[in-house]
Amino acid sequence: MSKTNYAELTETARRVRINALKAIAAAGSGHPGGSLSAADIITALYFNVMNIDPRDPEMEDRDKFVLSKGHAVPALYAALGERGYFDVEDMMTLRKIDSPFQGHPNMRKVPGIEMSTGSLGQGFSAAVGMATANKIDGKSGRIYVLTGDGELQEGIIWEAAMSAAHRKLDNLVAIVDLNGLQIDGRVDDVMRVRPVEGKFRRFGWNTLEVDGHSFPDLIDAFESARHTKGVPTAIIANTVKGKGVSFMEDQAGWHGKAPDQEQLAQAIQELGGDN
């Protein structure tokens, strides 16, 4: 997209949400809440921000995306499918025996997946490694990593955050999907991680706070990060868990539960219908 077409991004994100939910419903398990909160961020990256080629997933100097909150992988599969890495219908085998579409990302099974994740925090650290490698190799590719806010409770995140600032990795952008919920309840109640922006800033990062469901906000932030030199950027994306489906929105209970057929139908209807 040379000129940003926000309406097109919105439509793509709508399909990403629907396909993620359909796959989770077909699987009978999965993580709808965090998939929906991350859907717009992932769509912005794959359909506007990143330099990638679905016909050449291993392209030299490509940008890379690491889904550190691996449980949101239905949204990533849906975006990769929309982008043309594979037929989006293929992902409807999600979580089924012999399917490449594992419950958490496996880089050896699905084209476009850059890192196998699922155990929280590790994708963030691996992304710091990838950004370090690109600096050593003089490669222009940028590294994007998406974490949850509950995920910030993992110690490795802060070990890696220290490394990234120390090494001045301005080719690295971390996006925090700050939806405020984790399995046991509100992040603020379970183990407070706020102030997230302040923590990253004090760790030496450039920080930006955005509405994680606003494409203009997100794309401006990614553009601003691109022009920031000498430090990594953390984009704190305020999001709503379960975004787009009324009965899932801001409900911890929808972290890891599949909708039944009736709930799926209602969700699809609320998202504007499967067309």
Partner: protein
């Protein structure tokens, strides 16, 4: 057999890195604030642009190593064995093992011969932990010559490997031109009465034990099992069939390490009595390496005793 000079396997590792670094521009070396002890420091001095420091953050070290390796490099990631295999276990398992990343975990200061630092730094669990991971190659060199040659093979192969290295100077057992093969045991002494299957620094003790046993009329075969995974099953089965008794010797827990790996092969193929010399399900303590090996039962004399016990039964 070479003369009895002593070199630590970690020192051989340090030399290997500088030699390999000159020929292999894909080699990245990482450390977690222990470069003087792990001997990566010289590589860092000669190739500063290819040395990555993680600080005292072993979990980050391992996941970053995966990220760098998956970007087209071979990474030697170093720290003490306790903090590599122990502290960072699940990260090694998921970010290095599961992805098949081309990371060589070169872990030094393994076992009780860490010495004076005491139990918090003495790991006896690392071989067990690492050999559980699908696809992980586990190497435990017995001397400086085999360490260098096996490190080269580890770096040249694709995929993850764990190389266990020691702090203390140990006897050089091989001539410089000796050739090794990953996954293939070295037969250091022939014998038909019993086989001592040793790994790491216990190999020298096994040779000493065999000498003592020969004086008692017992001819012991001695194998240097430098690769614990994949294990040289043929050598183990031949030992069981031809000598009828096996003693394993390792500077590691008798639970889950070489002894267990050998026993797994023996019970499936050719059940014979197996005695295991190693750390016996207890923590260590501070002391000199030799004192600790003696107190915790990992000397040539302990191997001799194990053979005598088998001979009685």
């Amino acid at each position: 057999m070479a003369e009895s000079k002593k070199i630590a396997t970690r020192a051989a590792y340090g030399e290997f890195l500088v030699q390999e670094g000159a020929n292999n521009d894909k080699l990245i070396v990482m450390d977690a604030d222990l470069s003087g002890s792990t001997k990566t420091k010289e590589f860092a001095r000669v190739f500063p642009e290819r040395f990555v420091q993680s600080g005292i953050a072993e979990q980050d070290l391992m996941a970053e190593a995966a990220g760098i390796a998956l970007s087209g490099h071979v990474v030697c990631a170093s720290t003490f064995a306790m903090f590599a295999a122990g502290r960072a276990y699940e990260i090694i398992r998921n970010s290095i093992g599961y992805t098949g990343a081309n990371v060589k975990i070169c872990a030094t200061h393994a076992g009780i011969t860490v010495g004076e630092d005491g139990a918090s730094h003495q790991t006896f669990e690392d071989i067990a932990l690492m050999r559980e991971i699908p696809g992980m190659v586990v190497i435990n060199p017995s001397d400086a010559v085999s360490a260098k040659k096996l490190l080269k093979q580890a770096v040249d192969m694709e995929g993850p490997a764990y190389v266990r290295l020691g702090r203390s100077a140990v006897p050089v057992l091989y001539d410089e031109d000796h050739e090794f093969k990953l996954g293939k045991a070295e037969t250091l002494r022939e014998g038909d009465d019993v086989t001592i299957i040793a790994t790491g620094i216990m190999t020298a003790a096994a040779l000493e034990a065999a000498e003592t046993l020969a004086g008692e009329g017992i001819q012991a075969r001695v194998l240097d099992m430098h690769t614990i995974k994949p294990l040289d099953e043929d050598a183990v089965i031949s030992a069981a069939r031809e000598t009828g008794k096996i003693v394993t010797a390792e500077e590691h827990s008798v639970i889950g390490g070489l002894g267990s790996a050998v026993a797994e092969v023996v019970v499936k193929n050719c059940p014979v009595p197996v005695e295991m010399v190693g750390q016996k399900d207890v923590f260590g303590e501070s002391g000199k390496p030799d004192e600790l090996l003696k107190k915790y039962g990992m000397t040539a004399e302990d191997i001799v005793e194990a053979v005598r016990k088998l001979a009685k039964n």
